[in-house]
Symmetry: C2
Subunit: 343 residues, 2 copies
């Protein structure tokens, strides 16, 4: 508990009796020194409390231990949750996560990449906006910094893609809905910004075809990331529509469903499974709020934990590989049906 003030690594070398280059090696990677040396350093560290200067450290290093994480929208609880999970994994693996959100704006997305570049990151975990993304700068960036996409894929960009298997998950919930009532119509945005939306639309059409049902698309107009608002607005129209061929609505994602449920409630339309209900609604993603909608939302749960873990591991494996791997890896995780009260 002498807690003498240590100014730099030189001084710490003096008091700890370890040479500075060895200390440098230790701070870069603790297990790269002999176990006995590691123990000595750690003992000294407890008595003297020294942290290497972050800036001096990274200035000359070919590669830092920084891992950038970029998500489309930090204010979206879905992304907040998955980003948080990834951060945990990155940290445990001895790296330093830096989290940025693109607020749904393509310019900001590119700017985030630029800002990360000056951190000399070892790699990036990147959930792009999707269709709205500015591909040119992103592709250029991915050639310089190992980048792994997650959640939303940009074909051929980066080291690979970790996401969910929309084909499986949408097939699963369509099947469930058909078994328990009328075949669903598909409620989505006409021009979605997220590539998953296109995959889900296709998966819906395919699943309906396989089950021998006539598909029905309901496409909300609207731009941006205010999905609840769009779901609400179009939802008001849909619940009043007498010509709808079905009483069951499958929403492309939970946020649309949340808006839809709100509209249904506002219109006095009862949603759910009970005899007094006239409509069923399901979503996709198991959004953190889907447990508290009225009624609670039947949906597909994406395996946050698995996606986060696999993303972190895949990227770091590539980062740590001595020779660059030139194959692009794609891993899709199956979704799980979460049966609640809305369908």
């Amino acid at each position: 508990m002498t807690t003498k003030k240590i100014k730099n690594m030189e001084e710490f070398a003096a008091v700890s009796g370890i040479s500075r280059p060895t200390l440098s090696k230790f701070f870069n990677d603790p297990v790269s020194v002999r176990a006995s040396t590691k123990a000595r350093i750690e003992a000294a560290l407890e008595r003297y409390d020294f942290k290497p200067n972050l800036y001096a450290m990274n200035q000359n290093r070919r590669l830092t231990k920084n891992i950038g994480i970029i998500v489309p929208h930090l204010a979206d609880p879905f992304f907040a949750k998955i980003a948080r999970t990834i951060e945990d994994h990155i940290q445990v693996m001895g790296y330093r996560p830096v989290l940025l959100g693109s607020q749904g704006r393509p310019e900001l997305e590119v700017q985030n990449l630029e800002n990360l570049r000056s951190l000399k990151p070892a790699g990036i975990l990147f959930a792009p906006l999707g269709r709205a993304s500015n591909r040119g700068p992103i592709e250029a960036f991915c050639k310089e910094v190992p980048t792994l996409l997650f959640d939303a894929n940009l074909e051929g960009v980066g080291e690979g893609f970790i996401g969910s298997n929309n084909d499986q998950s949408v097939g699963l919930i369509v099947d469930y809905l058909c078994r328990t009532g009328e075949p669903p119509a598909f409620f989505e945005m006409k021009s979605p910004s997220n590539p998953n939306a296109y995959k889900r639309r296709a998966a819906y059409l395919k699943a309906m075809g396989q089950l021998g049902h006539q598909p029905h698309l309901i496409q909300a107009i609207g731009d941006g990331w205010e999905f609840e608002e769009i779901g609400f607005r179009e939802g008001m129209r849909v619940v009043a529509d007498k010509t709808l061929p079905t009483d069951t609505i499958l929403c492309s994602n939970d946020r649309l469903a949340i808006g839809f449920l709100s509209a249904a409630f506002e219109s006095g339309r009862r949603i759910g499974l009970g005899p007094d209900c006239s409509m069923r609604v399901a979503g996709h993603d198991d959004h953190p709020f889907s447990r508290f909608t009225c009624p609670t939302l039947t949906t597909i749960s994406q395996d946050y934990e698995a996606i986060a873990k696999k993303s972190a591991e895949t990227l770091l494996t590539r980062v740590e590989a001595e020779s660059p791997v030139d194959s692009r890896e794609e891993v899709l995780f199956d979704g799980r049906l979460v049966m609640r009260h809305s369908a």
Copy 2:
């Protein structure tokens, strides 16, 4: 469009015809050089695309342009939104925001401060966990780095506090509820972690007293930040309780209200103003989801924009002041009543 590759400031000095020390001054603060020089540099910048090395820049600077932002929980849309707004302001004012979330964990909160310290930040905007916060390390930190609290106050800590006027806002909504129906009971957590909760409880008691009504507290047990879950669980109990002296519930915050509404729906209890409704519920904060609850939530809107702006300005004023100010500044913003359908 020569876009020759510039390696460092030395090279950029050569091609731009400006001396390196002047460039250094410019990058530190663009308006600190003569306007004509600034123009010349910016012209060269367009042709050659050079960015000073972030790490080398900050290594020897007494003070960086980094501003740390810490919020209790990034997954909470309320904090996500206010953090995002603050980030925008910080950026516009020529600083570099670094956003961190404490995930509701006091150890992580302290660790976030430690991590920020190594960034040599010019200042910190800090929304502490509150009662759960580890005051010792926080106070020590605030003595070394200019820190301004927002959202939640720790008495006497830091440069000051920017928040909302719970006394005014709770008084406002209590008054509204009393004018339009039965006086409200107050629904809250028994041991809230957020200091605002105590202020709101006190404000409720005061407002009820002034209006000559008997206050009634409903206190949910539970720890942590899963407010919706707690609101739901205790809500199930409350809606079944026949001994409740009132049909009106004022929730300490919107997240509790969201859980409460979900519980009421589940129990078949109609909430709202209509003749078929048997209960009224109000919240506090104007949470981003409160527009989509069923029914939509009557609440108090905190002035996100004003709080964010004032926080950023106050901190940066202090950071830029040559002599340290030793007075602690406290600014509270009034809330605004948002009348929706739940009360």
